[in-house]
């Protein structure tokens, strides 16, 4: 095990190398660029044995990744924001083709106006593509999640692509200490990919031709079944990794001081990490708060959320919004708890990279506790402070 100090973007590159990805196709976009640069440098220096395809767009990045993955090799790519949106068609294609591609997406908001800071609008807009979608709260988690993702994606019963998300700049360009396990440990955990199907001229098959409605519906159903099966596999894979390396970030959810909590904050990515700080402060004030940091947005951790007592009040903080609807995570949580008595409050916060500090989160929880929160609330005001609710 070696301890290094680096940004999440470089750590993502290290993870692709450690996973022995064989083909990497990527196109640069802020703030993902240093992933691409780092990987290309590693490959040029002979430190990373892979083919790098420098494509002319993100649509082509995913198309090339699909082509390579279809030959049976392990593949990696990275993108962000508009790049992810430009890939959208190919994201569907990768999932329906049942290709276990792993991609990191650095969560960045959408223009116009141009804004390069973190929110989750980009990945939430890919909710229905069939990809598993994980969200990380630290650089160590980025490394561990990329490695674990290959194992989950390539499992025979899953065979779906995985998007590993982390927040622009808050993690992508922030150095943190990360422990990299020895390569033999990683190789043992993650053996060479065994493709379920592949393009091979000695065994010709036609993939993706016209399909009538009946088998099409079955194929979609089997994708859903794989997503459902992944819930257990995400947890057992994380447990296996913990045994080998000692690192643990939770299964589909990272639960923090939630067991006896009257109020639980649900959030994703670094906002979930920040919520842990808020909860520690609240606990000092004898307010029994806890955190559910959602690690796996797809599949959504319905059973874990259902374990919460019906008396628990939920504070769902969204960094994305479904216009004309509500916060994306807020909707998911309400849907998971359908028919139960829990009171559920939602905040739209941090859009376009607006800072959401632990102080903000403390105030959100207190607003719920004091009966001042509406079902749907918006972060307001300057300097990260909540000055009121809409």
């Amino acid at each position: 095990m070696k301890l290094i100090m680096d940004t999440a973007n470089h750590i993502a590159g290290e993870a692709a190398k450690a996973a022995r990805a064989e083909v990497v196709a990527a196109y640069p976009i802020t703030p993902q660029t240093t992933v691409v640069e780092y990987i290309q440098k590693l490959i040029s220096n002979g430190e990373f044995d892979a083919d790098f395809i420098c494509v002319e767009s993100e649509h082509s990045a995913m198309a090339a990744t699909i082509g390579a993955s279809a030959t049976g090799v392990r593949t990696f790519t990275a993108t962000s924001s508009h790049g992810l949106l430009y890939m959208h068609e190919m994201l569907h294609w990768a999932a329906l083709a049942r290709l276990p591609i792993v991609m990191v997406n650095i969560n960045r908001t959408i223009g116009p106006g141009w804004n390069i800071w973190a929110d989750h609008q980009d990945s939430m807009a890919q909710r229905d593509t069939g990809w598993l979608q994980f969200h990380c709260g630290s650089n160590q988690e980025v490394f561990d999640t990329v490695i674990q993702s290959y194992k989950i994606a390539e499992a025979e019963e899953i065979q779906l692509p995985i998007m590993v998300n982390f927040d622009a700049f808050i993690l992508s360009h922030t150095s943190m200490p990360v422990s990299i396990p020895d390569q033999p440990v990683i190789d043992k955990f993650l053996p060479k990919r065994k493709p379920v199907w592949k393009l091979d001229s000695s065994d010709p098959l036609t993939h993706g031709n016209i399909i009538p409605p009946d088998p099409y519906l079955e194929i979609r159903k089997s994708m859903q079944e794989s997503q459902d099966k992944a819930r257990d596999l995400i947890r057992t894979t994380a447990e296996e990794w913990k045994k080998l390396t000692g690192f643990w970030h939770g299964g589909t959810v990272e639960e923090y001081r939630a067991e006896d909590a009257d109020l639980v904050v649900l959030a994703m990515g670094t906002l979930g990490s920040e919520a842990k700080v808020a909860v520690d402060r609240l606990r000092k004030e004898r307010i029994k708060a806890g955190v559910f940091r959602i690690r796996s947005f797809r599949p959504f951790p319905i059973d874990e959320i259902k374990k919460l007592s019906e008396e628990t009040k939920l504070v769902v903080v969204d960094k994305a919004l479904s216009f004309g609807g509500e916060g994306v995570l807020y909707s998911e949580v309400k849907s998971a708890l359908y028919g139960r008595k829990n009171e559920i409050f939602g905040w739209i916060a941090g859009l376009g990279g607006k800072d959401v500090s632990w102080q903000d989160l403390v105030q959100m929880v207190k607003a719920v506790k004091d009966g001042k929160a509406k079902p749907v609330n918006w972060q307001k005001g300057g300097k990260g402070a909540i000055t009121g609710f809409i």
Partner: protein, 300 residues
């Protein structure tokens, strides 16, 4: 190689879903005889994605990866990289219509050419979006009726061969299904050259061009005889004409009147009925004349 000596192995299998008289079907059969079994196709949305027939059947004896409309050349780059990792030298071939090539996929095609991906891109050009119901593409000629040019297209087609040449490809060729030996030779030649190759096959389409399905080969040959289409190869930037096109270029034979080609197709009927549209017929002839004038100067 005479037709009778071509491989007897059929990799374009019987029972495909092609229209009767489909030019693409002929192109597939001949090209696959030249390419052989150690070939992987990637096919964007186009007539071929229908001709493949529907799951769980296939009309191909080689692996085929269907891919989104704009994505085939990028997919080929990925397939090539994946095969390279495994030490395989399988031919990677994109088989795409003119809509995917000239229009929606031109960025990914340009990218793959610039990256010098080792693959063969074959565009079977039927001069329209036939599969979606005969809409105008960047390859549709001046004056042609389509379902998005009801009174005839007002612009000429773009010059895809010139675009290919601007990428300095080691091999570029045109062909048409009426001359299968020529098509076979060009595909075989492309197969022997490493790097990115481009072949464009003029592929007449009975429902789109509006002629009787029995006349596809005739229509293909007439395209050459009238000079509307030319058989050529480009190697290291040098353009050489072959077959009847060479004879036309050298003035050894006189091209048939362009009007013969136009009047045989229902998509140009409005140029002749209810009354003759002298102006547009003349303009079409001028477009072809100017093209041959450029050819005589060694240009496209």
């Amino acid at each position: 190689m005479p037709l009778r000596d071509l491989s007897k192995e059929e990799l374009y299998l019987p029972g495909s879903a092609a229209c009767a008289g489909c030019g693409d079907g002929i192109a597939l059969r001949i090209a696959l005889k030249a390419l052989g079994k150690d070939t992987i196709f990637t096919v964007p949305a186009c007539c071929t994605s229908v001709i493949e027939s529907s799951y769980p059947n296939t009309s191909f004896g080689i692996p085929v990866m269907n891919i989104a409309f704009a994505a085939s050349a990028a997919c080929a780059s990925g397939i090539r990289a994946g095969l390279r990792r495994q030490g395989k030298e399988t031919q990677v071939v994109v088989w795409a219509g003119d809509g995917a090539t000239y229009d929606i996929g031109v960025a990914s095609l340009s990218g793959a050419w610039e990256r010098e991906t080792d693959f063969l891109y074959i565009c079977y050009n039927n001069q329209m979006y036939s599969n979606t119901g005969i809409q105008r593409s960047g390859a549709t000629p001046f004056g042609a009726w389509t379902t998005t040019t009801w009174k005839g297209k007002e612009e000429s087609e773009k010059d895809m061969i010139a675009i290919a040449m601007a990428h300095h490809l080691p091999y570029i060729a045109t062909a048409t299904i009426g001359y299968p030996e020529d098509l076979h030779r060009k595909v075989q030649k492309a197969k022997s050259i490493p790097g990115p190759k481009y072949i464009e096959i003029l592929s007449p389409c009975p429902p789109g061009w509006r002629y009787d399905m029995s006349k596809t080969v005739e229509m293909s040959k007439l395209s050459i005889a009238t000079g509307v289409w030319a058989l050529l190869e480009v190697e290291e930037g040098n353009i050489t004409f072959n077959g009847r096109s060479k004879a036309i270029l050298e003035g050894k034979i006189k091209p048939k009147p362009v009007e013969d080609w136009l009047s045989g197709q229902g998509r140009f009927a409005h140029l002749f009925k209810p009354k003759r549209d002298e102006e547009r017929i003349k303009k079409f002839e001028e477009i072809i004349d100017q093209k041959w004038q450029r050819h005589r100067e060694g240009k496209l």
